[in-house]
Subunit: 210 residues, 4 copies
DNA sequence: TGCTAACCGAGACGGTACGTCCCGTCTTGCG
DNA sequence: CGCAAGACGGGACGTACCGTCTCGGTTAGCA
């Protein structure tokens, strides 16, 4: 598990009173709190500021808007995902699927993840922020899982680094996309049974259940 | 390809002037138009109404809000998806993936699909509307593809109807979720090469690319 | 006391189904009813129509708008004013003042009389309607009172008809205007004591109270 | 002639940006301007705000509604009334009557005075605002006129302060009410001749013209 | 220790869109 | 053809937030 500070874009800060560091965390915590209570579309930056004991201007000095603030507020939650070495590729997949689903059950993420993705379709800077703060950081799970599976001989080693990246990205899209779709679009439960069936599908292919 | 009328929730309308049927379609068309130009967050219902040549009240009489309107406006686009019989399961998958990706490239869907899903996480009625107007309707593609593959002997027949539904739902979540994630979250192109690699993964499993 | 039907401007009614006469009175009664409950600014013509068991179109076919409807609805109440012969000019004035004040205490008149007068400042037709339906009809009280006082020798006979009209109009403006101002602007009670003091002032002049 | 600032109900304003004082006057001036052009029922607060170069919210932050705004906008005009010492009670009355009538000829007052009075019949707070901002302030004219007449010996001195107030109020209701009724209800001109006849009536009583 | 620049809270500001309300008109089918 | 019913185009409402701006006051770091 990694540690990271979202670090809003602060200027070099040459003279004068420095920005309060405590305010940052108070704002992010207040953001998560309001997200839980009111959801994405009910998130008011004035309310966040007042809960954080901070003026609206202070908030706007550090984040350009709602989307960026929420990305930073939520990103840290994703760093809690871990890949246990459970002995087989299928059970590793199953385990990480269940963890990810649990994260998507939390109201902060459930209500805001798709919202910021939606915003990002018209905002390239936001898309990059999501990529670096959330998506790319979690590819480590796939990289690690593939390495272990290769070590066990469950899957062949990579032909070359390019193919390795391509395969990692593909598997990441499949796992993350499928879980999100199940949880948020189909709105069906992600339980151990479903996780195992997904893992089996990924390991053996559609026809492999025979 | 199916035909359907989204049919906003109209009361039985016993007496009085009947609702204009033309207004419905004009409103939905204007909605798509504004979505293309301004995106989800730039969609103003007043603007939609005025483009449709309709009063704002007429719009609100038929749809409770932005989300529901957009679901109905966009749903019809999904009915254009078709499953060509291309001779093999892998190429059927690849073909439908490319079609779905092309749909997600359209600005109307690209910008609004995730937005309504995000809203639906706090609005059960909206979630059901998305389910019935968009999601469930497209499962036909998976049902048909599986039937063909079974006919060809590529995959075993279903043990029982319950298992058939479960498998259909799983495969649908995998394909739709993966394409959405690739296109909107990872923001990488869905080209023929990627589509084939995804299809191969699904048919043969993670280890099968060796 | 007179009897009158306000008679909205009905066309000659040549062919077809004739207008329901009962509807007229139902509409006026409903208007008074809603005025009592909601006041002038809370008076909705749709509400009036529905209380009268009538369609909005029926109402608009008979009255051009809210102001005209209210004038007709309220005018009839003024016809209940009477001038008792109480033996002296001062007590006649006092009696009619109290009657008029009682009328202004009724919510229908209290809330709507000044409102239609206000509207009439920019609507000449409305002003004439108020004049003929309400104001001019009540000048009879002053005419009668003056005649009696002249009969008693309390005031001199009129020099000529022009002067008679001028004096009648002046006295009418003084009495009606003063009572309205006391009741609605100063918002002080019009009781017997005040009525007598006003009557005394009018009969003997400002200095006469000594 | 007095000076006064209508002073909308502003909170003590301890911290934060202070309210713009210039905005107040701009809003009141714009209100009078729109009243002249469109009248009471054509007065749109959005239009007032935009003419004042102010956001609608700024206006609503300071006045609760149309009626209160108009009272404050119009009140200042009444402060221009003056009581010239013309040598006799009758001519003093006549002079103030003509001034008051001239004020009622102005479109801003003509169209709005009765309207706010009508509103005030169902709004006690509004009634008090009218009382303190307009009515009570002008009683000074009667107080002054009575004092002069007493100085000249035209009317007897007051027996006691209570009687003085009662007489002042009565005379005020008579003069103001009569002029308003003549100008707005009867809709007849208030010229020098009529003013003198009214003054004579008040000084000598109904029978006194003999 | 005292200056000073950037910070801070509070909250008013111009602005935009909202969703509602009611207007007065029109379009139905029934009697 | 009048009528009840009710949808229609239209326009103003008063509210909610936005993101910016002005205040007076605080606080660190340099002199």
């Amino acid at each position: 598990m990694q540690r990271r500070i979202p670090s809003p874009p602060s200027p070099p800060a040459r003279g004068g009173r420095p920005r309060s560091a405590a305010a940052d965390e108070a704002i992010l915590a207040a953001t998560r709190e309001v997200l839980v209570e009111a959801g994405w579309s009910g998130l008011r930056l004035g309310e966040v500021a007042s809960r954080a004991g901070v003026a609206k201007t202070t908030l706007y000095r550090r984040w350009p808007g709602k989307s960026e603030l929420v990305v930073d507020a939520v990103a840290v939650l994703f760093d809690e995902l871990e890949l246990p070495d459970s002995g087989s590729l299928a059970s590793d997949v199953s385990a990480v699927v269940l963890q990810f689903a649990a994260l998507l059950e939390r109201p902060e993420t459930r209500t805001s993840l798709m919202a910021v993705v939606a915003e990002s379709t018209r905002d390239e800077a936001l898309r990059r922020r999501i990529g670096s703060a959330i998506v790319d950081r979690q590819k480590r799970l796939v990289v690690e899982g593939r390495a272990r599976a290769q070590g066990r001989g469950e899957i062949p080693p990579d032909a070359d680094p390019v193919a390795a990246t391509r395969n990692t990205d593909l598997v990441f899209d499949v796992i993350a996309g499928t879980v999100v779709h199940r949880a948020l679009v189909s709105a069906q439960p992600v339980d151990a049974d479903w996780a195992e069936r997904l893992a089996l599908l990924l390991v053996t292919g559609i026809g492999g259940t025979a």
